[in-house]
């Protein structure tokens, strides 16, 4: 038992040290590098919290895609100049803010320690109702059945975010393809990796999606892996992104949430409640929705990392 406690404390200490490093880092690049390392440590922390589903997502999105996004942004800012920078607060203000934040941490820490014991939980309710969903993974059960609405709305949030990001394109670049073309590196070892890895990644993603019904995994993790594979191929110049006007691309992003809402409305019509699944067909319907959602999530995540079409084509 104590070995595990020591490991937890070590993880927490490492995470704290990296977090301090992020905040104190003089260069943005250092901060981002430390932040990615922090995300990887957190992935281990999630495993220790018995949240393997979250660990997979944290690794793929929290550390992976966020890291790529931030590093690419830093790279671009370094090229065009850091941009106008707000005035950093003076010493006295900084100290005051520091004390305030320490107070927030103290209050929050106290609240965490003061949470009631035994802790309230819905684990028993989930266990009792999970059989009706024909799913083996309780987290997938919550995501797709009990709190299916949240998942549906979250998929809609991704579509909205893509629209929001595209709306930030400069008008003269609007007809172009998302992403800044100068990031593409066409030769060297990256091209090799971009040829070898995607087949493996696709197999892994399909596996993660498939086992998600009964074991940790699911559409978001699989979608993130697929998005990463797509981005890799794009970076190596092996794949092109169609222009914003492309109907198939837009339809891919929209298909998952649209199907999910359609299934919900069908439940309203035939079962009398939104998102009530047809009896006996619960699992097939859920798997179908998850399958289409994975494609939409992958497309949306990749487009979000690419950013709006850029007017900047310089090498």
């Amino acid at each position: 038992m104590t070995v595990w406690l020591a490991l937890d404390l070590l993880l927490a200490a490492g995470s704290l040290a990296l977090a301090f490093g992020v905040v104190r880092a003089r260069r943005v690049f250092t901060a981002i590098a430390l932040f990615i390392a922090h995300g990887l440590l957190l992935t281990l922390a999630w495993v220790r919290l018995d949240a393997v589903d979250v660990a997979l997502t944290e690794g793929a999105i929290g550390a992976g895609l966020s890291g790529v996004l931030l590093l690419a942004a830093r790279h671009r800012l370094a090229r065009v100049g850091a941009g106008r920078v707000a005035e950093a607060p003076g010493r006295a203000v900084t100290i005051a803010i520091g004390l305030g934040c320490a107070a927030v941490t103290a209050a929050l820490g106290y609240a965490v320690l003061a949470l009631p014991d035994p802790a309230p939980s819905l684990a028993a309710e989930v266990a009792a109702s999970l059989a009706a969903t024909e799913l083996g993974n309780p987290v997938t059960g919550v995501l797709m059945v009990f709190r299916g609405l949240d998942t549906l709305l979250e998929a809609a949030v991704l579509v909205l975010a893509v629209i929001g990001v595209w709306s930030l394109a400069p008008d003269r670049a609007w007809r172009g393809a998302p992403g800044a073309p100068w990031t593409v590196v066409e030769d060297g070892p990256l091209a090799l990796l971009a040829r070898l890895l995607p087949p493996v990644g696709i197999v892994v993603a399909v596996h993660i999606l498939w086992v998600g019904a009964d074991a940790p995994g699911g559409k978001f993790q699989a979608g993130a892996i697929l998005a990463a594979m797509g981005l890799l191929a794009w970076l190596a110049g092996l794949a092109r992104v169609p222009p914003t006007a492309s109907r198939p691309m837009r339809a891919t992003v929209a298909a998952g949430p649209a199907l999910f809402i359609a299934v919900g409305l069908a439940g309203l019509m035939f079962q009398g409640a939104f998102l009530a699944y047809p009896e006996g067909l619960v699992k097939p319907v859920i798997l179908l929705v998850e399958f289409v959602l994975t494609a939409s999530v992958a497309a949306a995540l990749a487009l979000l990392v690419l950013g709006p079409p850029s007017a900047d084509a310089r090498p």
Binding site: P120, L122, F146, S167, F274
Partner: protein
């Protein structure tokens, strides 16, 4: 309280949320022109759904509830539309419809014309905003409300900088930072509440939480986060540049609806989730901040050289009125004064939404005709643009609280509730705020009514946009003609009341 049980007609608020969301998802593949037509075709059904919800609540005298997938809370999620929710659904449907019709001029796509960036983005953003505000008033689960808040932010932020000018992008970034900080603090509170009670359903939580340490910390975090999103002074700094820099149609929905979403969630937090935990001190602080917002916001509006900024600061001030209801409702729960304050707060939210949307649309029309929005150079506006100036004046009456307008009814209810509750100082604030509001409205009118300078544009035959803005202003005034009894609707399903 026991978990909410499904009722008849629960499908109405559900569809009021899901139809705009579905339309938003379909908007991108349909393209700008398709999205525009889809939005316009949804305006009437959306209004009917909101109206139907109100009728169902009025007839049954109880909230309308839909359980998603037949799963009942705490495991499942519920939509619960009470009187306040129905009133907000109706307001949103009206404001969205007016804005959409108004926006056809600026964001419409002619058949065969290429899709522009602004037109591509505007319609789905408007639809998302509509779905999000409806979700924010009917969802009964604290985490679903978090998703609603994020949807609201992600729709509102790009609207604020749709023109792509540098200042507006800067304002949008500042707005996004405030909003993200606000929602993350809110989510932190949600985590603590789940850890304390094991449920996030507002009805189930109501009366179950005492004043334990985690609950106090959660309440503080969530309140701070929601205040940042509602732009209550001193967290208002993001609002004026963001709302003033947006295109007129976007400003209208931002000021009229978006800030109301987080306000309604705050009401649900204090009078639903925390109904069993009286915190009069916190209520007085909220109202104190509201009072400061009324006085300082109005004074700032009085000093603005630009018309759009004046209207935006007026929003900062009018938001303050909403917060006066907190100590008055909490002071003597179940009393006549509390009921009056509740109705007053709801009515203020509605009448401000209508009046402010009208005002922003009118100001947008004036700025478009003049090519600028400097108040000092408004001379001749009364002759060249009589309808927008009249719209501004009528909306101003509601904001001032001059009888017989919707704003008068709201402010009168708050004022008399304050006196009945023995908290007369809030009544003074209401009166003082009305005077200051009169000051800035008069400033604009007097500038517009001066005989035209040489640069005043020629008179212009009013079209549909002018009529829409005027219609909203007339509605905001007409609210005051409704018999007071008809506002009983917003009392239905109020939590923390003896049944």
């Amino acid at each position: 309280m026991p978990p909410p049980a499904a009722t008849d007609w629960g499908i109405l608020p559900l569809l009021a949320v899901m139809l705009p969301v579905l339309a938003m998802v379909l908007a991108a593949p349909l393209g700008a022109r398709g999205a525009e037509r889809l939005t316009l075709s949804l305006l009437l059904p959306g209004f009917v759904l909101a109206f139907g919800t109100a009728v169902a609540i009025h007839v049954s005298g109880a909230p309308v509830v839909h359980l998603l997938g037949h799963w009942s809370p705490p495991l499942g999620l519920a939509f619960r539309a009470d009187g306040l929710a129905a009133a907000m659904l109706l307001t949103a449907a009206i404001v969205i419809a007016a804005t959409a019709l108004f926006a056809r001029d600026g964001f419409g796509t002619k058949p065969g014309a290429p899709e522009t960036r602004a037109a591509f983005a505007f319609w789905p953003l408007l639809l998302a905003l509509w779905g999000a505000i409806n979700l924010a008033v009917v969802a009964n689960d604290l985490f679903t409300l978090y998703v609603a808040l994020e949807l609201l932010t992600f729709a509102a932020m790009p609207l604020a900088c749709l023109e792509g000018k540098r200042e507006t992008v800067e304002a949008a970034l500042r707005y996004l930072m405030f909003a993200l900080l606000g929602s993350v603090l809110y989510l932190l509170g949600v985590a603590l509440i789940y850890g304390t009670a094991g449920t996030l359903d507002i009805t189930l939580l109501s009366g179950r939480l005492g004043l334990d340490a985690p609950v106090i910390v959660a309440a503080a975090l969530m309140t701070a986060g929601l205040l940042a999103k509602t732009a209550l002074l001193p967290l208002h700094l993001w609002l004026p540049p963001a709302h003033a820099g947006a295109p007129a149609a976007a400003s209208a929905v931002l000021s009229a609806l978006v800030v109301k979403g987080s306000f309604v969630i705050l009401v649900r937090l204090w009078f639903g989730v925390l109904a069993g935990a009286p915190a009069m001190g916190a209520m007085q602080i909220l109202a104190g901040l509201g009072a400061a917002a009324i006085l300082l916001g109005s004074a700032a509006a009085l000093a603005q050289p630009r018309l759009k900024l004046l209207v935006a600061y007026s929003t900062v001030a009018q938001i303050g009125y909403l917060f006066l209801m907190f100590p008055l409702v909490a002071g003597m729960p179940g009393s006549e004064a509390a009921a009056k304050a509740w109705t007053g707060g709801a009515l203020q939210a509605i009448s401000h939404a209508l009046a402010k949307a009208a005002m922003f649309l009118a100001v947008g029309l004036m700025a478009a005709r003049l090519g600028h929005d400097r108040i000092a150079d408004l001379a001749g506006a009364a002759r060249s643009m009589p309808l927008p100036l009249l719209t501004f004046a009528l909306a101003g009456l509601t904001l001032m609280g001059v009888p017989p307008s919707g704003g008068f009814a709201a402010k009168w209810l708050l004022l008399s509730a304050a006196i009945e509750a023995g908290q007369w100082w809030w009544a003074l604030v209401v009166l003082g705020g009305g005077l200051l509001t009169g000051g800035y409205v008069y400033r604009v009118l007097s500038a517009g009514l001066t005989a035209g300078g040489a640069r005043a544009p020629a008179p212009h035959p009013p079209g549909l946009p002018e009529a829409i803005a005027l219609g909203l202003a007339l509605l905001s005034v007409a609210l005051g003609f409704l018999p007071l009894a008809s506002f009983g609707l917003v009392q239905v399903g109020r939590m923390g009341l003896a049944p």
